[in-house]
């Protein structure tokens, strides 16, 4: 491959095999001599390193700004409550109470305060772990328990590992803010699904998102023999490239359960990546790289 590429592995439905594909694809590229980075953007439930098993060398804490009011100088005018569109500041008996979990860190209250007595403090939202393995750099976010808002952590994570030839983003399930943040600015997307009613329904939602973001994409059908042909039919009617069909394997399910999917997967499905890799190749940006 010439140039660099950022691939995002996504799906609407959870548990379709995103992480399995992300780690095995990373290993496949690494085996061909590429410098690969795997970014685990499923910060609510980061699982990729359970399979990659890189040794975590660095852990960085990620913060987001939230307001604090200097109460001694606050006049209780209520301007901050008025401008906050997230109900993150409420006035109780003319005293502002900040609800950090509601805050989107927009800074609106700070600039709105006529007395200039609102300032920002850093709130911890999670950590980013970085590890190194054979030709693979891993970076994964870990959202702090009880913290509702994941996108700022995902955004911070995506600034990691830019020097790699291939950046593989393991996205969270779903179609809302965390998934969108993970998908942004990728060169291409691989949507992993199952040939079942749930799989198809959620695939259509994911297709809607990648189309809206303008990201070229292809589809991988996992456990391709468990359901029916509806996903294959959908792909052909929508002209979506079908990049791989991976049949169900109890042996793979068992090795996944133990956390050692990488070797077994390549042994059982040696050809699974051929079409995926040639699809990805089309979207590599020219420039320095392998």
């Amino acid at each position: 491959m010439h140039g660099k590429v950022q691939i995002v592995i996504a799906s609407g439905k959870g548990g379709t095999g995103k992480t399995t594909l992300a780690v095995t694809l990373a290993a496949r590229y690494a085996a061909s001599g590429k410098q690969v980075a795997l970014l685990d953007c499923d910060v609510e439930e980061p699982n990729a390193n359970l399979f990659l098993k890189t040794e975590i060398r660095v852990t960085e804490t990620v913060y987001t700004p939230v307001p604090r009011v200097d109460e001694d100088h606050c006049t209780g005018c209520g301007k901050c409550e008025e401008v906050c569109n997230f109900n993150a500041i409420v006035l109780i008996k003319k005293r502002p109470l900040v609800l950090p979990d509601m805050c989107h860190s927009c800074g609106g209250c700070v600039s709105a305060c006529p007395e200039g007595v609102i300032y920002e403090v850093q709130k911890e939202i999670g950590t980013i772990e970085e590890g190194y393995g054979d030709h693979i750099v891993y970076a994964g976010g870990r959202l702090k328990i009880g913290e509702p808002i994941a996108p700022p952590l995902i955004k911070a994570l995506k600034s990691y590992c830019f020097s790699a030839d291939i950046r593989i983003i393991d996205a969270p399930p779903g179609t809302s803010c965390p998934a969108v943040e993970s998908l942004r600015e990728s060169d291409c997307a691989i949507l992993v699904t199952e040939p079942t009613p749930f799989g198809l329904n959620d695939l259509k939602l994911a297709v809607g998102v990648v189309r809206r973001l303008g990201i070229p994409f292809g589809i991988v059908i996992n456990r391709s023999d468990v359901g029916d042909n509806s996903v294959v039919d959908y792909c052909s009617s929508e002209n979506i490239p079908l990049l791989a069909s991976i049949p169900h394997s109890r042996q793979i399910a068992e090795s996944y359960s133990r956390g050692d999917i990488i070797q077994g997967f390549q042994e059982i499905f040696p050809d699974a990546f051929a079409d995926i890799m040639s699809f990805v190749k089309q979207y590599a940006r020219s420039g320095k790289g392998a």
Partner: protein, 288 residues
């Protein structure tokens, strides 16, 4: 009558939440169903609801620039923290959080906030009882607010029509929609699986339910895939005082039921089905 609310979550996706919820609905006979997985709702595929009422969901606000008034001074781009101001000073609605900071920064009054239609929500009838569900728009946010709305509607219906139980299908993860779906519930049922990722995610969900002090029940699905890991899950449950209410073996009846738009309970019998029946008895015992 007090209304009890059971919320089914999992941490990891694809462990079988929705299939379990439909099966509990079938066994309960009289409950209100709430699909709180608004990001990727699937419960309707098993319960084939007849929609009685459909309502737009206004998730928040979004900025809009009148480009003919805009003098391109660039102040909005300077104050926006979400990178939502595009090169021509139009707004990228996918990046806009709806904070309104740009509106106040604009000296020309060229930017205004408008309602953001983020999806639709429905009140329906199903063969097992009323159902409240939703469809979040493509790439829309504020799913937590929509989840809260669905739960409060489900509660209203339960109180009005004298139902004693609400069964909610939650979303994977531990973030905004999950927090919105479990806060204040009677109990949470975590559907997990004996895999390294299932265990890892269960531990994070456990911390979350501990954080909110919610009674937690555990169902181990595909328990025979890895008996060693099933033991580990039971140990975790014991340490955290969670009750393991069922172990269900791997069975393709889950997929077969889905293909027929049925709950597992309606699709046949066998060990998986009888263990789900045991699960329901145990859940009833714990929460009713």
């Amino acid at each position: 009558m007090t209304v009890k609310e059971l919320v089914v979550i999992s941490g990891k996706g694809g462990t079988g939440k929705t299939s379990i919820v439909a099966s509990l609905a079938a066994l309960a006979r009289k409950s209100v169903l709430a699909d709180c997985d608004v990001d990727a709702a699937d419960l309707h595929l098993l319960l084939t609801p007849e929609i009685l009422r459909e309502t737009e969901f206004i998730g928040g606000l979004v900025a809009e620039t009148k480009l003919d008034i805009c003098t391109q001074c660039g102040k909005c781009a300077e104050v926006c923290r979400f990178g939502a101001i595009l090169g021509n000073y139009a707004i990228d609605p996918l990046a806009c959080e709806g904070c309104g900071v740009c509106v106040r920064s604009c000296s020309q009054g060229a930017i205004r906030m408008k309602d953001r239609v983020s999806g639709r929500w429905f009140i329906s009838d199903t063969r097992f009882g009323p159902m409240v569900h939703a469809q979040l728009g493509i790439a829309e946010g504020n799913s937590g607010k929509l989840v809260s709305l669905i739960r409060s509607e489900a509660r209203r219906i339960a109180e009005e029509r004298e139902y004693s139980l609400i069964i909610s299908d939650g979303s994977p993860g531990i973030g905004c929609p999950v927090i919105a779906s479990i806060a204040g519930a009677t109990a949470v049922l975590v559907v997990t699986e004996p895999t390294v990722s299932g265990i890892h995610d269960l531990e994070r969900v456990a911390e979350l339910t501990g954080h909110f002090k919610i009674k937690t029940l555990v169902c181990i699905n595909k328990a025979d895939i890895n008996p060693e890991n099933t033991k580990i899950i039971k140990q975790i449950a014991l340490e955290r005082k969670f009750i393991v209410v069922a172990e269900i073996p791997y069975d393709n009846i889950f997929t077969r039921a889905q293909m027929q738009a049925l709950s597992v309970i309606e699709a046949g019998d066998g060990e998986a089905v009888s263990n789900i029946r045991t699960l329901w008895e145990a859940v009833k015992h714990e929460i009713m």
